[in-house]
Point group: C2
Chain length 219, copies 2
């Protein structure tokens, strides 16, 4: 007898992802699933995004980490509700974890929910959490061969933020190569070149979000 | 009926790891399992190490990647046997994959076998492959909070190479913090600060390897 365990796990997750998504749609929420390698800049991007948009839309954040509450505390200091999920060794978030975190938010009073996944360029791409869009960050310090070597995340993401471009003068990474290979894998990818540290290039990313928040009307 | 699937997977892997290790010991091989986030510098470290040591010891390399043969080709250009394992989506190497790759080498004519794991700071730490030592690389561009957030790999590794120290003037990362938290998790960790790009700080790492190759006698 053959037991297809991995398929079962993924199918169970898909079912819960659909439940999450139905709930998010009913509440008129935009939900983003933010993914990257460890240290590519997810939390710093979130801090910048919260600071730039929190007076225009109501934002909530779910932080996924193996352990510690470090990132959720960082985000909460910016004045928005943040919930930490500890995966206790697990290398990705799944829909069940997100479902368990939702009672911590008042979803009727949110416009945008960002899920910061565990730092991992592989596994999170396989597990939907009910998000509208997957957004990935690649730091230029990781090198320009990453789309070639980790294609799944590039193929599943709607947005690629190429971060830490301020370090380009000191390293051998070609943004042109990243763009070319990433677009070859996924021609629909929207690409923004940014430096979260120096706060450059972020305006198009903020505009991308605002254009997708269901109830947001620009003034 | 409760089926403890994860435990079974890990136990089956441990059994094969012991088989691999017995074979490596019989052949008098030093085996290192090299792990890091994507883009921290594993392949560049390997290229430097092969160039520095290939006239003194006989080196073989197993490259683990989700897909592509990019890294094995890179290593083979340095004149040592290199085998590529493609995990086809899998986020870590395991003992069975290593066992399947071994017939590609003449183990009687090797002193050092380095296994370069899939770029991932989480899952590879849970799967022994029969290695003598786990060696991890952390790029300073990943930030100084990584030991706190990904403690398992730091606790399981014998060596931590802190790489890309040439970029320290341009970023907000404290090597002192990395050292303090990493040693708090694992007081036995040997730490080397290096720049693989600029080839600085690597001599103590080369000496560490040579001191552990069973048949190597320094002249």
């Amino acid at each position: 007898m053959k037991v297809p365990v991995v398929r079962n796990v993924l199918e169970a997750n898909e079912q819960l992802a659909r439940e999450n998504q139905a709930r998010f749609r009913e509440k008129g929420l935009l939900v983003l699933n933010l993914m990257s390698s460890p240290g590519a800049g997810k939390t710093t991007l979130l801090e910048r995004t919260v600071d730039a948009l929190k007076d225009q839309i109501r934002i909530g954040v779910i932080e996924g980490d193996i352990q510690s509450t470090y990132d959720a505390e960082k985000i909460a200091r910016h004045g928005v509700p943040a919930v930490q999920i500890n995966t206790d060794g697990g290398c990705h978030l799944d829909s069940r974890m997100i479902q368990a975190a939702l009672p911590e938010f008042d979803l009727n009073n949110l416009d945008l929910l960002v899920v910061e996944n565990v730092g991992n360029l592989v596994c999170p791409a396989e597990f939907d959490v009910g998000e509208d869009y997957k957004v990935m960050i690649l730091s230029v310090t990781e090198g320009d061969d990453k789309p070639l070597k980790y294609p799944l995340m590039f193929s599943k993401s709607s947005v690629l933020l190429i971060n830490k471009v301020d370090l380009l003068p000191y390293i051998n990474t070609s943004v042109e190569t990243i763009r070319r290979v990433a677009l070859d894998i996924n021609p629909h990818l929207e690409i923004f070149e940014v430096s979260c540290q120096n706060q450059t290039g972020l305006e198009p990313w903020f505009a991308w979000i605002l254009a997708r928040v269901p109830h947001y009307k620009s003034v």
